[in-house]
């Protein structure tokens, strides 16, 4: 982890019609850190991720104000959002195996980006599946449908797929919601490994998961960023905001 700012968010304000989802959020995310984001449903955590990779473009009625810079470059200035999204891997709460083979799932994004070389693709797929701790379980059946894997395997497939473009940033949105505890621990090990290579934003409902994985932790409540700081601080008695203390101690929420 370095102190270089990878993502700089300033005055981010998001609304659907009259409903405000994020209010004046400013946040720095450092290169190579795991930033854990906690907060109850409706706090705006997922919306924040959607703004970072401009999936917000695809959501009708969503209005985004404020600034998000990645390596100093304004996100909304990308003429082609695909270019931006290829640099940001995303893992959704529910595993989404695309309706194609395991191999094709992982090779999908590189192919869309123009990679055709079979040998290169095969190497890439194997590497990504290994990184996602899935390769040994599926190496003999890469041609099987990705959608037929179990939930936990599909979620690791999704991670392998997110890694296929060698992203600089990895967004994990409550990845463990449909995954058993053992698989969750496997994936958490994977995430710790990946930290060496990329900046990770981990949105989670599990306060303890934030504690285990986060270098820093941010708490969102009702669209506001309540507090962000080193994970030890957030989980200590020295929180800047009393609501943080109450939330992580399970006193409300």
């Amino acid at each position: 982890m370095s102190d270089r700012v990878k993502i700089e968010i300033r005055g981010l304000h998001v609304s659907y019609g009259n409903h405000v989802v994020l209010k004046d959020v400013s946040l720095d995310i450092h290169e190579g850190e795991i930033l854990a984001i906690i907060g109850p449903a409706g706090a705006g955590k997922t919306t924040l991720l959607n703004c970072i990779n401009r999936m917000s473009d695809m959501i009708p009625g969503m209005k985004v104000d404020g600034s998000i810079r990645i390596d100093g470059r304004e996100v909304r200035d990308f003429r082609d959002p695909s270019e931006l999204r290829r640099r940001i891997g995303v893992v959704f709460p529910l595993p989404v195996g695309l309706p194609m083979s395991i191999f094709d799932n992982v090779a999908f994004a590189p192919r869309m980006g123009g990679m055709r070389d079979r040998k290169k693709l095969a190497d890439l797929v194997e590497r990504c599946l290994r990184q996602a701790a899935l390769f040994d379980e599926v190496k003999d059946r890469l041609d099987d449908l990705g959608t037929r894997l179990s939930g936990g395997q599909q979620q690791r497939l999704t991670i392998a797929r997110a890694l296929s473009l060698e992203p600089e940033i990895l967004c994990l949105d409550e990845f463990s919601i449909a995954v058993d505890p053992v698989t969750t621990m496997k994936i958490e090990e994977v995430i710790k490994e990946l930290k060496q290579q990329m900046t990770i934003i981990l949105v989670t409902n599990l306060v303890l998961q934030a504690r285990r994985l986060g270098d820093r932790t941010a708490l969102f409540l009702g669209g506001h960023l309540v507090e962000v700081g080193p994970t030890e601080t957030i989980f200590s008695r020295q929180t800047a905001d009393v609501r943080t203390f109450q939330y992580v101690q399970g006193l409300f929420g």
Binding site: S82, F108, M112
Partner: protein
């Protein structure tokens, strides 16, 4: 009131069980009744028409002022009409549906288009026929021809093709699209590689069902391209042609002295054609469904 013991039959559970049986039976009977019209129609046609239904009947032209001979030109004509109308309506319908379902936002423009499609689907076929005469035969000077008639049929089938295609596209889970977009795939790449491959079965079914509808329509082709009687086969889309539906109408109402089996046999052929198209669609659908991937 004493609390009900667990796992005991009470008056309430007994009556609800009885009601369940009644409802189930009623729904079953109503459903079974649906077969009756089809069976009776087929039986009627076979009874009266089977005697005339020979290979000769299928492969020769009408003779002796339509009171003898076969229906070959009408079969060929119907194939022309359906083929050309499909070649026009299917691509336009599918492309429009893709636009409406995958690209168009929810704004007043889209809503007007959707409203137009729904209303177009409700226009009676005789009105389509008159429109066809005005627009294609007269205004575009295509004359009474296969082209005019097919375009009229295409206009008639388009809204339903669009609606069924949209439905098939909407059945592909949104999460697949989001996953693709998040991987940096463009909208078109997502449609091409994920949405379309997983909705072809629905799209094909919708299109094929419209084929059978177009084959059976009489009014739209009557004024625009189908002929009363033609001794020769059409050579191009600029020719007129005979059509099974039109021929059936002619035989039953316009020509005196037609032997009884002829119109029945013609109807049997038309029905057989439509049903075999429908069966094809069912087979295609079940084949593609067996390859369904989620």
């Amino acid at each position: 009131m004493t609390p009900a013991l667990p796992f005991c039959t009470t008056a309430v559970t007994r009556s609800s069980r009885r009601r369940e049986g009644v409802v189930r039976g009623l729904l079953g009977i109503v459903t079974a009744l649906l077969i009756i019209p089809l069976i009776s129609i087929l039986a009627l046609l076979v009874k009266h028409g089977a005697s005339a239904l020979t290979l000769d009947f299928l492969l020769t032209s009408p003779a002796a002022g339509m009171t003898a001979g076969g229906i070959f030109p009408a079969i060929v004509g119907t194939l022309w009409l359906v083929g050309v109308s499909l070649a026009v309506a299917a691509p336009i319908g599918v492309l429009a549906a893709i636009y409406l379902n995958e690209y168009a936002g929810d704004n007043w423009g889209t809503r007007i288009v959707n409203l137009a499609i729904v209303n177009l689907a409700g226009v009676p076929s005789i009105v389509h026929a008159l429109f066809g005469v005005g627009a294609f035969v007269l205004f575009l000077r295509l004359g009474t021809s296969i082209l005019s008639a097919s375009l009229t049929l295409a206009i008639m089938t388009l809204p339903v093709i669009i609606a069924s295609t949209k439905e098939a596209l909407a059945a592909v889970p949104m999460s697949f699209r989001q996953a693709c977009w998040a991987l940096g795939a463009s909208r078109w790449q997502t449609i091409r590689h994920v949405v379309l491959p997983n909705s072809v079965q629905g799209i094909l079914t919708g299109v094929i069902l419209q084929v059978s509808r177009a084959a059976g329509e009489t009014a739209p082709v009557m004024f625009t391209g189908a002929a009363f009687y033609l001794p020769f086969l059409p050579q191009s889309v600029n020719d007129q042609c005979m059509a099974l539906s039109m021929h059936l109408f002619t035989l039953s109402t316009q020509v005196p002295g037609v032997p009884e089996p002829l119109p029945y046999a013609t109807a049997l052929v038309l029905l057989g054609l439509v049903m075999s198209v429908n069966v094809t669609s069912i087979v295609v659908r079940s084949y593609l469904r067996s390859r369904r991937k989620w």
